[in-house]
């Protein structure tokens, strides 16, 4: 079962409005490399100059009912996991 990657209020111009992608990989770094082929320019926006997740965005890992904030790119994902890429909060 592939990993689901969802873009929530982010990068819709790059994805041309598409919100959900499916990727068969087991690390976020690999998922990102795979997605870059479908969404050119994604890495340049989602990562900062030091190849870390850009501070303007959060990557959330959803596994069942539990969600985690992801740090770094080398975390493992499992079949059926969902990754959600969201902007940081604006303050209301």
């Amino acid at each position: 079962m592939p990993v689901t990657v969802r873009f929530l209020s982010a990068f819709q111009d790059l994805t041309h409005g598409r919100k959900i992608f499916f990727v068969d990989e087991n690390r976020f770094s690999k998922i990102l490399a795979d997605l870059e082929k479908e969404i050119p320019g994604l890495k340049a926006k989602l990562l900062d100059q030091e190849e870390r997740i850009h501070p303007a965005y959060n990557v959330m890992l959803i596994r069942g009912d539990v969600s985690h904030l992801c740090h770094g790119l080398e975390f493992k994902v499992e079949n059926g996991d969902e990754l959600v890429i969201v902007p940081i909060i604006s303050g209301g």
Partner: protein, 616 residues
Amino acid sequence: MNGYQGKMLTVDLSNRKTFEEPIDEAFAKKYVGGVGFGIRWVYDLLQKGDDPLSPKAPLVFSTGPLASIHFLGSTGISITSKSPLLGLIGDTDMRGRMGGSLKGCGYDALVIEGKSDRPVYLRVTEGSCQILDGGHLWGKDIRQTQEAILSDAQNRNMLVTSIGVAGERLVKYANISCELQFFAGRTGAGAVMGSKNLKAIVLGGKQKTPVSDMEKVKALVKAISSKIQTDGTCDTLSKYGTWNTTGPANLNGILPTKNFQATTFSEIDKIDGDAMLHAIYTGKRTCPGCPIGCRRVVKGETPYSFSTEFGGPQYETVASMGSLLLNGNPYAIGKANELCNLYGIDTISTGVTIAFVMECFDRGVLTEKDLGFQLNWGDPEGILRMIALISLREGLGDLLAEGVKRASEKIGKGSEQWAMHVKGMEVPMHDPRGKKGMGLAYATSFKGADHESSMHDEAYQRENALPELGFTVPMARKQFEGKAGLVKCLQEYWGVMSDAVSLCKFPMIPPRPLKPGLLVDLLNAVTGWNFTMEDFLTTGERIFNLARIFNVREGITRKDDQLPKRFEETLKQGGSAGESYPKKELEKLLDEYYRLRGWNPEGIPTPETLSRLGLD
């Protein structure tokens, strides 16, 4: 004095007199401006127990020194009074142009005292203030009011700030609006203005305010603007406005839903950022000197038609008129926003009040007989009818116009348990069970539950969030540890000082580019002062403590620094499933928070603290 006009205008409506008073530099350095000036004057002019709607109670419009330049909403204004909703100090701010226009008339602040014996409006220009008959304006909504005022040739091209009908009828959460676009929503300042029979303030002046080092100001503005446009941290705010928060809030399980019974909404796909862009967005507007442009222009057609004239609903309104009421109709949210704006009431307090009534219906505490119609969760027509009833104080709306605290006390039957407020002010759209610092911020803010008084936990989950203020270690949003120090510091920096200097809070949220050091540099470049970061934060601490001792004078102690009991219940699903806000955890945080503040265990500032801050 750079950054200031050096004088304030006082209008005594009872005696129809106006007079100018000087503002000296020592006072300006001590309180800076905006909320700092406002709280100082309201504290001095009132005594314990004074009625906030009495002629004696002042209404203060105060600018900050950065209103001298047009940058990131700096031309906005703070409005301070004793809040009729809380019975405590009240302060609300709005961006836009009112502050810049008041400076243009030659004043740093406008203080309204007394009460006119008939409806009036003020026309202030450079060197002149007239108290004019406002009888023809009374009963008009804010659009009709602005049209009527601007149709007078003498008022052409002037800036109109007014109340709606809700302010006239003393709805305790009535707002004040400017140019149909900007709203000082919280704490009920509109009712204070209405209690004085003051319908509107019209400003027209172009006097420059002296600036110490304009070349340095220009360099700082250029550097900050460039970062905002290029570093990516404001991109989604620019594209979605604050709607960029709705989807993530739902994902994190902090989106108030069904009167805070839940924190995820099954119809989120209809009201998140992308959905709102698709449904009602037509463009964006900016405050003066802002490269972000977070304000939305929206339009809706029949059956929920609304105009592009008004500011579109922000996140708080999308949630308070949407998920909180189980309303997944973006057009109905747009219409509710427009109605609240026209009548002149705060969308957050209104939404929370309607949610309270819906829950009363759900639990059989209120029935069709009480309201005149059935009110079910998610009923758009019912929501719109409720807004009118409250604004006009018709039927049960008369009681609901007092706020959920008073309404629930009167209705009884256990309804106090689902009246969501802190110290009388309705809880905004961030469930503290999923962001623990926000809970402490709600409990200790001088104006009750307010989401702009301290910080948002989500911004401090990454390392080096705000190193200049010592916040380098990541703090998870759900953790209690470390939040007392974070909340205290950010109450002073983000909560108070942004309003004192007068600047939009959004570019200051980490990781955005307006860092503390740059803000102090900007203040110094405008004023010619040599404020250090310590001076800056101490000023914030002084203003915060002054607000606290105003409230202590009114009887506030630790027993009032609490959260609604509902937040002690554990969330069952969503991104904050399993989370609660136990009272014992809040008490532990309060112990630490009071110690850091130099307050005694009852939450009262010690004499040593007040002396250190120059407030003895």
